[in-house]
Amino acid sequence: MEKREITFKEAIREALQEEMKRDESVIIMGIDVGVWGNLYGFTRGFVDTFGRDRVMDTPISEAAIAGCGCGAAASGLRPVIEIMYIDFISIAMDQIINHGAKWHQLSGGKVKVPMVLITNGGVGLRNSSQHSQSFENWFVNVPGLVTVMPSSPYDAKGLLKASIRDDNPVIFIYPKGVLNDKMAVPVEDYLIPLGVADVKRAGSDVSIVATGWMVDHALSAAQELNREGIECEVIDPRTLYPLDEESIARSVHKTGRCMVVTEAPAAGGWSGEVASVVMEHCFVSLKKPVLRLAGIRTGIPYDKDLERQVVPGVKDIIKGVKSLLG
């Protein structure tokens, strides 16, 4: 398979472009997706290629954007709607959770809502407390929704394509911290199945379940720990719901020690969900309780260094692994 190095941003752009070329019912709606080509250039040039009928700039109206996406999806289109920052999604929540997420069931399975809501979360660009949060747990909690979080360019492209082709409403959250990551990505069409985790690094001593930007940190930590003879297995769930419980359980049965790493704070977060799943499946194999390494429970500060300090870093992961082995 021919591959070339592209950034995370370019991977998202390619996924959107390929799916829009492949299927005319795929349209994009959001604030400045047309004229700006999105904040990060995801849709740069798309208006010229696909026209304003398929790349639609909206007013600043998250409820209307999300609602329009749900309604369009329920009536034959496959909309990709953008909520610029996950922090704004609260304005759109009613449309997504009370309506879009429920129509398939309320129609006895007759209505499908194949909408992808793409949004960014997490720290990394000094966007401060109202533009840097992590709310994936909100969506994992809503029956009817799929929640996806890619960590790399390869995953982003394959997952976004799969999300667009999936017939459920999918919340696709990309982390700010990985936007400029570069990686070899296939030129050919490929999909990453939803609901399937990826073992990013095999190891026998500790299972690290990490999401988004934290996957990068976990891999860096694993590399450093390797020099000390400690082998970490790094698992990226990729889809947060439905969760690939089998892959995680298989890993923890092997290692007996598990750490969950998220930008999001622990209390009420998705990391607790994983810890519960591991407890349920792997109790007999666990040598220590599951360790949750999560963001500090605070508003995200503005400063470049402070914002990184309130979420887990490589040093925190190394320390956590050693505490699990001690």
Binding site: S61, P79, N98, W103, L106, P143, G144, D166, P242
Partner: protein, 264 residues
């Protein structure tokens, strides 16, 4: 797109009384096979959605209207909401988006003059809700919602305008809610005299009078029709009461389209 009180709209859109009874009574045979109940069923066979979050429909109606516009068959989407609902953010965002994108969307505000227990003057700073249309640059018209012919005329004009690609319209139909917001409502926010005054304007009473005075129908003829309908409705209700309730297994099914073979 209908409201939390969707029964009349549902029938107008083609749902049978039997299916509506079934849904209201929580039985199989309703559009949601009894899992919704009165306020949020989805009748896919009749392109009919409703919901119990007032005002929300104005946003998701845009999506349906967008699909219809792209299909170029001249179809339109009608979105109903109440006067209380017109205060929500969704109501404003929805009308604004539809106006900018010139979507084939008819917004119908059924103004029964009370948002639950609050009279209109306490939550709205304009006399007529149709005035708000000007804020979105779309035509807005108020009509006596108790006058069937007047509403039909205004609606026909608006629908024609929308079908011709001129973008959305807002109709405010001024009416009254005879009963409470819910069964058990203490109704301590309005007087019996006010209710009686409006009951005299009941559209069924007015319509009946019109048919006799201006269309040549006799009282006996109309009584016969009313009796036939009453008997049919009674049969439909009895039939619905015999339908089974959904099982737990059914009620928890269809949450998601299967994802890579994983359970929902």
């Amino acid at each position: 797109m209908s409201t939390h009180r969707p029964q009349g709209h549902a029938m107008a859109k083609g749902a049978s009384p039997r299916s509506i009874f079934c849904e209201m009574l929580g039985r199989m045979g309703g559009p949601s096979n009894g899992t919704s109940g009165p306020m949020q069923w989805v009748d896919a066979d009749h392109n009919f959605f409703c919901g119990s979050i007032v005002g929300s429909g104005s946003c998701y109606a845009n999506g349906f209207a967008l699909s219809l516009k792209r299909q170029k068959k001249g179809h339109i989407c009608a979105c109903f909401f109440g006067d209380g609902a017109s205060s929500t953010g969704a109501s404003h965002e929805g009308m604004n988006l539809a106006s900018v994108w010139k979507l084939p969307l008819l917004f119908v505000c059924e103004n029964n003059q009370y948002g639950q227990a609050t009279p209109m003057k306490n939550y709205c700073n304009v006399d007529r809700l149709s005035q708000r249309a000007a804020g979105y640059g779309i035509p807005g018209v108020s009509v006596d919602g108790m006058d069937v012919m007047a509403v039909a005329e205004v609606a026909a004009e608006a629908i024609e305008r929308i079908r011709n690609g001129n973008g959305p319209c807002l109709i405010e139909a001024v009416t009254y809610r005879f009963k409470g917001h819910y069964i058990g409502d203490p109704l301590n926010y309005r007087t019996k005299e006010e209710v009686e005054r409006w009951q005299k304007k009941d559209p069924l009473i007015q319509c009946r009078k019109n048919l006799v005075e201006n269309w040549g129908y006799t009282d006996a003829q109309l009584k016969a029709v009313e009796e036939e309908i009453a008997q049919q409705i009674a049969r439909d209700e009895a039939w619905a009461l015999e339908q089974p309730k959904p099982t737990l297994e059914y009620a928890i099914s269809n949450v998601m389209v299967p994802v890579a073979g994983r359970k929902a």
